[in-house]
Symmetry: C2
Subunit: 404 residues, 2 copies
């Protein structure tokens, strides 16, 4: 008897379920595992023996894998639980691996972002040090696109497509009145500006929106922003700005900082960079200013997902099964890009210790000199990731998704 | 030489361009008009002789009508200009009709909401009183669905589909963590709760969200809302509320009132009913509370438009051309529903004087007794309006829209 378990952790994306679907389809092809279990609510749920038999779901519904691959958020639920180091809590690791042994688990697949990859690192180290036969493999996902080594992360492409599509629609909406207006759109991205940068994909032959883009990778200056907007207003009636929630001043203070409250991982809580920027622009120009926060829909709007993103995410899940066949452990599956146009890539994997706890910012080559836009090189990088619309089925006018 | 002019006014929807497309396709079928002109920025633009030749656009691009029919916001631009009464400014009417005569205008089609239908009323009266040969016809549009006589308004179905789809996706997003949470989603609707009511279409076999729905048609009580949420939390971990921006207390004061500032039409400016509700729920329950404002995307998200809505909107434009052939003036085209299931309707028209300046609220039969939900009768009414996804073409990963 040889089984595997897959779980999800961190914030949702519209492609994270596709990786679980990929593990399932990978096993349908190889039959390496007798049963594929799902851990409910990540590692925290597994510690509470909260699991589900996913192999049974496939048996019950032949369309399950496809439907799962286009479902937003996390079918198996998530957690924000970060495994302590084994040196700090050996008992927890003993408990965890004893339960995995009880389930005849050969491989544990963890789909997640930065914090989840740290769990993969800790668990694979513990297994190696204690000669345990359990393989631990990471499958990346994060709309933030901020994991190192991999060319990009599943979830980012769909988020980028949502950002670009809605920015274009916001632009159509902004252009209708014969008056000058300013629209500030706030996008997600606390430490890295990938999502905000992707809003530049909204540009068409007739619309240059967003006209200005501000990322956390460059110090944000209120005075410079006002000067930038003033210049734009000379040539366009409706100026649209895309600002990252994580923009900071030259001293590193969040523009939106509402205090010093920290979340469970010690990150400063943020709210409203868009509102702050909107307020000072209103004061500076006395024009109509709209502030739009592209809230959780950025990570949940499966109806406008990138089909390419969901396909790649599924491929990563399948490749993780292949790695398990080959006895690989302590790795995260990765994308290696071969070329932008035509877009080609290979799927590979890399030692998790080089990946966990590192953040990949938008590189200098992707940001213009003035620090208020992205470069053509960024557009060439990002455009292949937003291609294709998912093949959704609809019931009563709504997309059909999978639910546990 | 017999021409017509079509213009758009008021707030945008993702189906208003379909009505302009309908006027064009109606004329392609009948050839009643030699040239179809478009007025740029509504009646205000026409007064400034700001027009475009739409017949030429069709000649230039054979796909123009289809592309226009799926384009969000307003291809011809909008205005917020309300025609004064002719008794107050006869000169303006003389100027306007003299320009229409210059263009050999036989019919003026005005696509808009409540304020625009008042312009249709004023203009058709003036024309009748002065024996002018110009016919004036109204084509309704408003996401708010608050025009009387017509069964519903074009734009509402798409807005309802956006509200339902995103509510479902927000629900998927809310369910992922093993903790109790409250999510407050604020939807548009100042005086009538149609859009907020439509969020109930998000419900599926596995998700009852939104669990509570508050409309402006019922006095809103903070204490009752807290009691409602408390009761929901007994049976569900994640309570999702849909609140209309226009909810008011028993004395008629907006929950969100931020002051007494009025807009150009004398309406009180509103902001943040969702935030107000979120704040008191946070205080009452000490749980994680998220507030999501479904901003302008409600009226701009053409990528998730209702194909039924855009089709009907186009049919109204075509019917308006038919009415013009028949010599009708001072009417607004309307929908008459024949049955909910199967959904059947007829297109007709009605004297504008019964329509302009009246507001259709959500009727009692569509609101539950407790005032915190809609009834099955409402769902039966609204569901046919969100069916079908538009046949969009994509370029570089983005939907292709028309732009002037």
């Amino acid at each position: 008897m040889k089984n595997c378990i897959v779980a999800q952790s961190g914030g949702p994306t519209v492609a994270i379920n596709a990786s679980v679907a990929g593990v399932l389809s990978g096993n349908e092809k190889t039959h390496i595992f007798d049963t594929v279990y799902g851990g409910i609510n990540g590692i925290e749920g597994i510690l509470h023996h909260n699991i589900v038999n996913l192999s049974e779901k496939i048996a019950e519904d032949p369309d399950f894998i496809r439907k799962l691959s286009v479902t937003p958020a996390m079918y198996l639920g998530s957690c924000r639980f970060k495994m302590p180091k084994a040196t700090d809590n050996a008992g927890l690791y003993e408990e965890l691996f004893s339960y995995l042994e009880e389930l005849d688990i050969d491989t544990f697949f963890y789909v997640g972002g930065n914090d989840s990859m740290d769990t993969v690192l800790q668990m694979s180290r513990y297994a190696a040090e204690h000669n345990l036969p359990v393989k631990v493999l990471g499958i990346p996902k994060t709309i933030d696109n901020d994991l190192v080594i991999t060319d990009h992360t599943p979830g980012f492409g769909s988020c980028a497509k949502y950002a670009a599509t809605t920015l274009l629609e916001v632009a159509h909406d902004a252009y209708i009145y014969p008056m000058k207006t300013i629209t500030v759109v706030e996008l997600m991205g606390r430490d890295a500006g990938w999502i905000t940068a992707a809003s530049a994909l909204a540009r068409t032959s007739y619309s240059a929106a967003p006209h200005l883009i501000y990322l956390p990778e460059r110090p944000f200056s209120k005075e410079q922003c006002i000067a930038d907007v003033k210049k734009c207003l000379e040539t366009t009636d409706d100026v649209i700005l895309a600002v990252s929630e994580g923009i900071r001043d030259k001293d590193g203070n969040y523009i939106s900082a509402t205090g010093t409250e920290l979340d469970k991982f010690g990150h400063v809580k943020l709210a409203g960079a868009g509102n702050v920027v909107g307020d000072f622009l209103k004061e500076a120009f006395a024009l109509k200013v709209r502030v739009i926060e592209l809230n959780v829909l950025q990570r949940a709007a499966a109806h406008i997902a990138s089909a390419q993103d969901q396909k790649e995410s599924m491929e990563l899940g399948e490749h993780a099964v292949t790695l398990a066949c080959q006895g690989v452990t302590g790795h995260m599956v990765t994308f290696l890009r071969k070329s932008d146009s035509p877009y080609t890539y290979e799927i590979s994997s890399h030692d998790i210790s080089d990946i966990a706890n590192a953040v990949k910012e938008v590189p200098d080559a992707y940001i213009n000199e003035a620090g208020n836009d992205v470069t053509d090189a960024f557009l060439a990088y990002a455009r292949p990731l937003i291609q294709g619309t998912p093949e959704l089925t609809y019931k009563d006018g709504l997309p059909e998704y999978a639910f546990l």
